[in-house]
């Protein structure tokens, strides 16, 4: 098991290097002269040139990437063009807001999605099942930002229960202000999890090993918990892991709409200010976060399905589990 975990951890390193290289290359093409953006329109050519030298803009591309990576490993993502602050500080001040919103969204989706899916599967083709499946179909097709608008119109403008935007400063206000963004971010995900759970449970129920477990006299509880749910969980974990990236993307929209002070809103602001180091820093940070979540999901697989783990004992993996 430890060897598998270690191997899987090492596999993330080339992926991270490649991902940062890709994003760095893309952002390299960002228009505008950084020196001009920082110093403004009426800067002298000499001042521009000395700043360009200072920023290392005239260095060859690979040298710049190398320097960036060395700094990145030391936790330095450069300085923002907008206000000269350290990008690392700017992002770190916002990252926990993004993570708490993402965690709240996932938790909501899991806590609602899995039970709804199980109930739907048990009561297959009942009117309850039909209604839930219709609602989930609707929710998976709903644009995040539209759902947010509707929620704000209903719960903030008309009912006045929750704030329409911003993050509460006191603990109580924080939880209240977290509710609408969480619903926005988590609803589509909850619907997806509910649909996957339903399909997965229906699939598992028909397997021979369930009949076998019953035949050997296990209690119904043991059949459901130990044989049914554990096996049904694998596709559910897959869906949660695969869609974590979608959730991070959704958090960009959700944070922008609710003025939630997270990395997602920061990246949108930075794009409009042509603040390349900040954009680069945000994308790299979220990609690292995403990669680690994928790592955790892969490790969870091995825990849930011993067959996957044994695959890794014999041969070097060829992406079998990272599907």
């Amino acid at each position: 098991m430890w060897r598998y975990i270690l191997k899987r951890c090492f596999m993330t390193i080339p992926v991270l290097i490649g991902a940062t290289f890709m994003v760095f290359t893309i952002m390299h093409f960002a228009p505008g002269d950084p020196a001009r953006i920082i110093l403004g329109a009426d800067a002298t050519e000499a001042a521009l040139e000395s700043l360009r030298y200072e920023l290392g803009i005239n260095d060859p591309f690979l040298v710049r990437y190398g320097k960036y990576m060395v700094n990145l490993v030391h936790g330095d993502m450069g300085t923002s063009y907008r206000n000269g602050q350290s990008v690392t500080t700017l992002i770190m001040g916002r990252l926990n807001n993004t993570i708490s919103l993402a965690m709240a969204g996932i938790l909501f989706a899991i806590v609602v999605g899995i039970p709804v899916g199980i109930i739907s599967a048990i009561k297959q083709y009942s009117s309850l099942d039909n209604v839930t499946m219709f609602i989930t179909l609707f929710l998976t097709a709903m644009p995040t930002f539209w759902l947010a608008l509707i929620l704000v119109i209903v719960f903030s403008v008309n009912l006045g229960w929750f704030p329409a935007s911003g993050m509460g400063r006191t603990l109580g206000a924080f939880w209240v202000s977290l509710i609408l963004p969480t619903l926005t971010l988590g609803s589509g995900f909850a619907a997806l999890i509910a649909r996957t759970t339903r399909a997965s449970v229906l699939d598992v129920v028909r397997q021979d090993y369930i009949d076998m477990a019953r035949a050997k006299g296990l209690s119904e509880n043991a059949v459901i918990w130990r044989h049914m749910l554990k096996n049904a969980l694998i596709p559910i974990v897959t869906v949660i892991g695969l869609n974590f990236g979608v959730l991070l993307g959704g958090s960009v929209l959700t944070e922008s709409i609710f003025s939630w002070p997270g990395v997602g809103r920061f990246v949108v602001e930075s794009i409009s200010f042509k603040d390349t180091p900040a954009v680069l820093g945000c994308v790299v940070t979220l990609a690292i976060l995403f990669t680690f979540v994928n790592l955790i999901v892969d490790l969870l697989y091995a825990f849930l399905d011993p067959r996957i783990k044994s695959q890794y004992r014999s041969v070097w993996p060829r992406g079998g589990a990272s599907k």
Binding site: M22, I26, M27, P143, I153, V246, V252, G319
Partner: protein, 299 residues
């Protein structure tokens, strides 16, 4: 064959007829298809009107501001009300259809065309080439789709073609994976061996023998992906990174909705409702297509 089908249907059929029949039996999928066709009808109609009137109608009714009717509520004259510049929301939504539809579908098809060849080569040759290509795809997948698209738009600048490029590049890896998997299931078949025995080259085998047989999972993925793609177009436009105002893309219309939601709920509700209907229609159609083409269900 399903024992319930009448004797007339048990005649030998081509796979296409079987799939078509399977698809038509699925009422939700047919409803999805009908809605998709309706949306195409609307999009084409607006294009025809623009061509016929040399954009005069577009400029006078979709772009031209009429501040007298600013934020007008829905009425018989303005079915969905008016936006913050007094433009008829119903017409703007109709004219916005083509953006969602064509950018959404275009991005997915471009992703397929860019990604599938890599996946096919990886799946066909295996070994080191496979490893190299798929590790590269892992790298693309390591950056969340939406963020990658945003980074590309940020680097290239905001415009409709750049939006298309950003979305299609971000989607490459998904299609490479699907194409690779479908080629791997096909390539060990006897007809591939037979083709090789009669002296066909790699390119010929891939294009003439494997491609047609590995196509359907990719087509299903295209139809299932369109819904998401439409949502991405709208989302990026909403953030100001996609189709730019005053063009009436649905997400772009919604950009101003939040500012006016206290006075004009209709600006929030209607464009979003059209988005939801379009996405559901494509998803239902895609689900139906998947079920109809899945050989496991064709018993």
């Amino acid at each position: 064959m399903n024992p319930k089908t009448s004797p007339a249907t048990s005649r030998a059929r081509t796979p296409f007829e079987q799939s078509l029949k399977q698809f038509l039996k699925n009422k939700m999928a047919v409803a999805g298809l009908v809605t998709v066709l309706l949306l195409f009808g609307v999009a084409l109609a607006t294009i025809v009107v623009d061509l016929a009137t040399d954009n005069a109608f577009y400029n006078n009714h979709i772009i031209e501001q009429d501040l007298m009717h600013r934020l007008a509520k829905p009425s018989m004259k303005h079915l969905f009300g008016c936006d913050e510049f007094g433009r008829d929301l119903f017409l703007r939504i109709l004219w916005g259809t083509k953006y969602s539809l064509f950018i959404g579908i275009g991005a997915i098809i471009l992703s397929l065309l860019l990604g599938a060849p890599f996946g096919m080569i990886a799946g066909y040759y295996g070994g080191r080439i496979d490893n190299l290509i798929m590790r590269f795809m892992d790298i693309i997948l390591a950056v969340p789709f939406m963020l990658l698209a945003m980074a590309i738009v940020a680097a290239l600048g905001t415009s409709t073609p750049n939006l298309l490029i950003a979305l299609s590049v971000s989607g490459i890896a998904r299609f490479a994976r699907i194409a690779r998997a479908s080629v791997m299931t096909v390539k060990d078949n006897e007809f591939v061996e037979a083709a090789r025995a009669i002296g066909a080259g790699d390119a010929e085998i891939l294009l003439k023998y494997i491609l047609p047989n590995a196509l359907s999972p990719n087509l299903v993925q295209v139809s299932l992906g369109v819904g998401n793609s439409i949502l991405m177009v709208a989302g990026l436009s909403y953030l100001g990174l996609g189709v730019q105002p005053p063009h009436p893309e649905w997400g772009t219309i919604l950009t101003s909705a939040k500012i006016y939601m206290r006075d004009a709920w209709h600006i929030s509700v209607f464009p979003g409702a059209f988005l939801v209907v379009a996405v559901i229609a494509f998803n239902l159609f895609g689900d139906g297509l998947r079920d109809a083409l899945d050989p496991k269900l064709k018993k």
